[in-house]
Subunit: 158 residues, 2 copies
């Protein structure tokens, strides 16, 4: 089945916000996904369609502090099509858009408990940046996104 990658639009927000917690296996993720990411960062945000249905998206932006960096805030893929290359296609398109802007590094964070995400990012060429703590060989920041919200910092040079 062919995957089509296009820019993410504000109209994608309503259908996606209703399913995003399910896509993440029931984890409460919707609070992190404000509509603003679908409105204000179109040049570096993408949706994946398969058979005219949205099956994944990536919300990212160029850093306005560090102009050489782009940041991936959120990626979601319908578990029904996981392993079909949707995440890879979305990241590939993001890297392209970032390069065109003159960006040389892509940053992101993920949960140290999310082994699937860590393995995916390693396969995509991301390195883990130093952290304040370590568990099972993975360096992370214990309260990175607030108390009880540990994150691994990821970086890929593009």
């Amino acid at each position: 089945m062919a995957i089509t990658i296009r820019h993410l639009e504000p109209e994608d927000y309503d259908p996606i916000i209703r399913v995003v917690n399910d896509w993440w296996g029931g984890r409460q993720m919707a609070d992190m996904l404000s509509r603003l990411f679908f409105v204000h960062f179109r040049p570096t945000s993408f949706a994946a369609d398969m058979d005219r249905r949205v099956v994944g998206f990536l919300a990212g932006f160029r850093s306005q502090t560090h102009r050489e960096q782009a940041y991936v805030h959120f990626v979601g893929v319908d578990p029904a099509v996981r392993a079909c290359g949707v995440g890879r296609a979305l990241y590939g398109r993001f890297f392209e858009a970032a390069r065109v802007l003159g960006v040389s590094e892509v940053h992101g964070v993920t949960s140290p408990l999310n082994r699937a995400s860590l393995a995916f990012h390693a396969a995509m060429g991301f390195d883990i940046l130093p952290g304040d703590a370590e568990a099972e060989g993975v360096r992370y920041h214990p309260d990175y996104d607030g108390p009880g919200e540990p994150r691994v910092r990821l970086r890929k040079r593009i």
Copy 2:
């Protein structure tokens, strides 16, 4: 007591994320405030210090879709200093920074139930944009930031 406005720094995140729910009267706001807003949008994000203590902050950015727009994502002020002009000073500095970038409109959203916020934004010169619903004379979007997350859309020309 003098208010000093300066750029928001990543180092401000830890102390602020611990108190932000209290500043909002116990409302669960921390989930909406990822560290990314303290790292990647420094040119348009500000902190207010009073007596060497952070008593408020504003996290905003320039839209990367609509280059003529800037967006205020989050404003927090310590209730102990409310009515001292901290919010006004933060917005004033944000409008200045936005103007320098060539921005002509500032956008934001707030809860239709937050009468204090609506009154504050009206006093700052924000208009309410059309919405899909109306309650007590205020137009709003019922599920703007996801199911059960209604928002009033605000705009000020600068």
